[in-house]
């Protein structure tokens, strides 16, 4: 397996504050990678750097051999990287179907986009199917619940047909049922995509993660399976300093 995404010597600073320091990270094609860490660990910043939203002070981010640093956001999307946001943003005035169609259509030439959509393309139909939103296809996205919005976002991501998916806290604010459904969706997506998930929810992590990378104060703390990471004393210490409840969970799990 070769590294689809290779991050080397990455540094990000916001007016003096070092958000990410000397980070090296490799994600292989086909992997489902979880990115965890206490608040301020630099998880979202890392996603922002990969997708071009934030410019690093130094370092390199290579995707399938292409350097991403310095490229504009939509160019990075066109290389095959898609992302979701912590607070889902869907286009409320457009229907679910139109949202998905928009996500699927960026490869169409401009002239084709001046025409009206007359059918449902295969990838849009597939995204509707996978996310279970087919019944809501013709409803405006504005009427969707929080969970449905997140699924629509994941569906839009699938419709883009990216090679790498970056999900920023996909289950935040979701009910237990919604979380379980999102997990299943994630498993399904991970079957034929490379996926990086930023997540706080430990329960969700234990159930669905295979490889976990722990960030702490902008540095890579450790990497491994869920069990390895939870057994790592450094991880326990980091979480001890942050939230006692989660640490207790970690310790209990490790012992």
């Amino acid at each position: 397996m070769t590294g689809l995404l290779q991050i080397r010597g990455l540094n990000v600073a916001f007016s003096g504050f070092r958000a990410i320091t000397d980070l090296d990270l490799t994600v292989a094609a086909g992997e489902l990678r979880f990115l965890i860490g206490p608040n301020g660990a630099g998880k979202t910043t890392l996603i922002d750097v990969i997708t071009g939203l934030t410019r690093p002070t130094s370092g390199s981010v290579r995707f399938a051999g292409e350097e991403l640093v310095g490229r504009r956001e939509h160019r990075i999307v066109r290389l095959g990287i898609g992302r979701t946001f912590q607070t889902s943003v869907v286009f409320e005035q457009l229907t679910v179907l139109e949202n998905l169609d928009l996500a699927a259509s960026f490869r169409r030439p401009l002239a084709a986009r001046l025409r009206r959509r007359r059918d449902v393309s295969d990838q849009v139909a597939a995204a509707l199917e996978t996310t279970g939103l087919a019944d809501l296809a013709y409803r405006p996205a504005g009427v969707l619940s929080h969970g449905q919005r997140q699924w629509l976002e994941i569906g839009m991501l699938l419709a883009q047909q990216p090679r790498l998916l970056l999900l920023d806290e996909p289950v935040a604010g979701m009910s237990r049922d919604e979380r379980a459904r999102t997990g299943e969706l994630l498993r399904q997506v991970a079957r034929d995509h490379t996926v990086i998930v930023v997540e706080h929810d430990m329960d969700f992590l234990r159930r669905f993660a295979s490889t976990v990378t722990v960030l702490h104060e902008g540095r890579l703390l450790c990497e491994g399976t869920v069990a390895q990471v939870q057994a790592d004393p450094r991880v326990q210490e980091v979480y001890l300093g942050r939230t006692r409840r989660e640490t207790a969970e970690l310790v209990k799990e490790a012992s």
């Binding site: 928009l102 960026f106 986009r113 883009q160």
Partner: protein
């Protein structure tokens, strides 16, 4: 109407009835405009022709502002660029001895400035009517939108552009006719502008152009590009992560609206017989916008209707007392912005939805495509959901 043919023939009977309402409205409006020359006096027909020119600008504003969220307060600039391109050509056609337009003779200009020369060619002049405003809009758009200037900042910038354009025109007396602008047009490509019969033909040309411009904007609005434009309006930063460059999307819409304004300006010149900086400055640009706001910026039909209505009201009130119009117009703008941000078209949609909800059978889920449930030629399909009403309409 080709518009009616394009509509897919599926859907419940009631939904289909509304779907035909759009083309019916379009046809009705077309018929009214076509019989107007037979009914109105030449004086009134001239005024209507002038309103139609403003309506062409309004269609462009509806696209740029309503769909694209670009509050353009400088549409007069593009109107003026098209207008001056046409005016310069007409002036050269009617030039007196020495090939100089009348105002140049009065200002003591002795030979035709180099800038004017190519405008003697009708093909060049007609091309410039569209190309000048489009080029300016593309350059400005790429520069401004790429720097992510938007919202009020863009509005102020476009207004400053209108102010600068007027200063430029007024300052170049010998080149542009200064404050007086270009006046005293006699003919328009063989039409005698002092003949009511010829003026009627010109009016029909203007009405025809408005129809074409409207259909172009309508097709754009319902295309994938139109949806993308709405998406850019509502979530520009999100659109980037769908693989599109919002700056390009906005620039295209802005350039189309500029081109439409340019065409309107070019038709305004023969219709009204003069073009001066007063027709395209800050106040004129704002008046164009107010019409669209009153009619409803999210609906192209609303934009056209608003432009006609506001300009008609202006004429009526100005005939009685010129001063009061300014206050009334301001009050109208405030009222619309506060209580009916979607304008008259929005009020109409709400009323229709409220009425329709009472007697219309609920359509089956498969037929409840919101885009089709609204009349085809009423591109208000992507209006912000009227509180409750439209949501009810699409509920399965």
């Amino acid at each position: 109407m080709s518009a009616a043919v394009d509509v897919p023939g599926k859907g419940a009977g009631a939904a289909r009835r509304w779907r035909l309402a759009g083309p019916a409205l379009f046809t009705g409006a077309a018929v009214l405009l076509l019989i107007a020359p037979a009914v109105l006096s030449p004086f009134r027909l001239d005024l209507l022709g002038k309103y139609l020119c403003f309506a062409i600008v309004a269609v462009g504003i509806g696209l740029a502002w309503g769909r694209g969220g670009m509050l353009t307060l400088g549409q007069g600039v593009f109107f003026g660029l098209g207008g001056y391109a046409m005016g310069m050509h007409l002036k050269l056609r009617e030039a007196g001895p020495g090939g100089l337009p009348d105002f140049m003779v009065w200002s003591g200009v002795e030979s035709l400035p180099a800038l004017w020369r190519p405008f003697a060619n009708p093909v060049f002049a007609l091309a410039m009517v569209v190309l000048l405003p489009v080029t300016v809009a593309v350059l400005l758009g790429l520069l401004v939108f790429r720097q992510r200037v938007r919202g009020a900042y863009f509005a102020v910038l476009s207004q400053a552009l209108a102010a600068a354009f007027v200063i430029l025109l007024v300052g170049q007396q010998g080149l542009t006719g200064g404050t007086n602008g270009l006046t005293n047009f006699q003919t328009f490509f063989g039409l005698d502008l002092y003949q009511p019969g010829d003026k009627r033909i010109l009016y029909l040309v203007v009405a025809g152009v408005l129809g074409v411009v409207f259909l172009v904007a309508w097709q754009l609005a319902r295309s994938r590009f139109g949806q993308l434009l709405v998406a850019v309006r509502d979530g520009e930063d999100r659109v980037r992560f769908l693989g599109y460059d919002p700056a390009v999307v906005k620039t295209i819409a802005f350039a189309v609206s500029a081109g439409m304004a340019g065409i309107a300006g070019a038709l305004f010149v023969p219709m009204v017989g003069l073009l001066s900086p007063a027709n395209l400055g800050i106040v004129a640009s704002l008046e164009l916008l107010i019409g669209v706001a009153v009619g409803g910026r999210f609906s192209l039909a609303g934009a056209v209707g608003g432009a006609l209505l506001v300009n008609y009201a202006k004429t009526i009130f100005s005939e009685q007392s010129a001063d009061n119009w300014v206050y009334l117009q301001g009050a109208m703008f405030v009222v619309v912005m506060l209580w009916a941000p979607r304008g008259l078209a929005g009020v109409f949609t709400d009323v229709r939805a409220a009425l329709g909800h009472r007697w219309r059978p609920r359509p089956a889920p498969a037929a409840t495509r919101p885009t089709d449930a609204t009349p085809a030629a009423d591109p208000s399909a992507t209006d912000p959901p009227p509180a409750g009403a439209q949501r009810e309409e699409v509920r399965a």
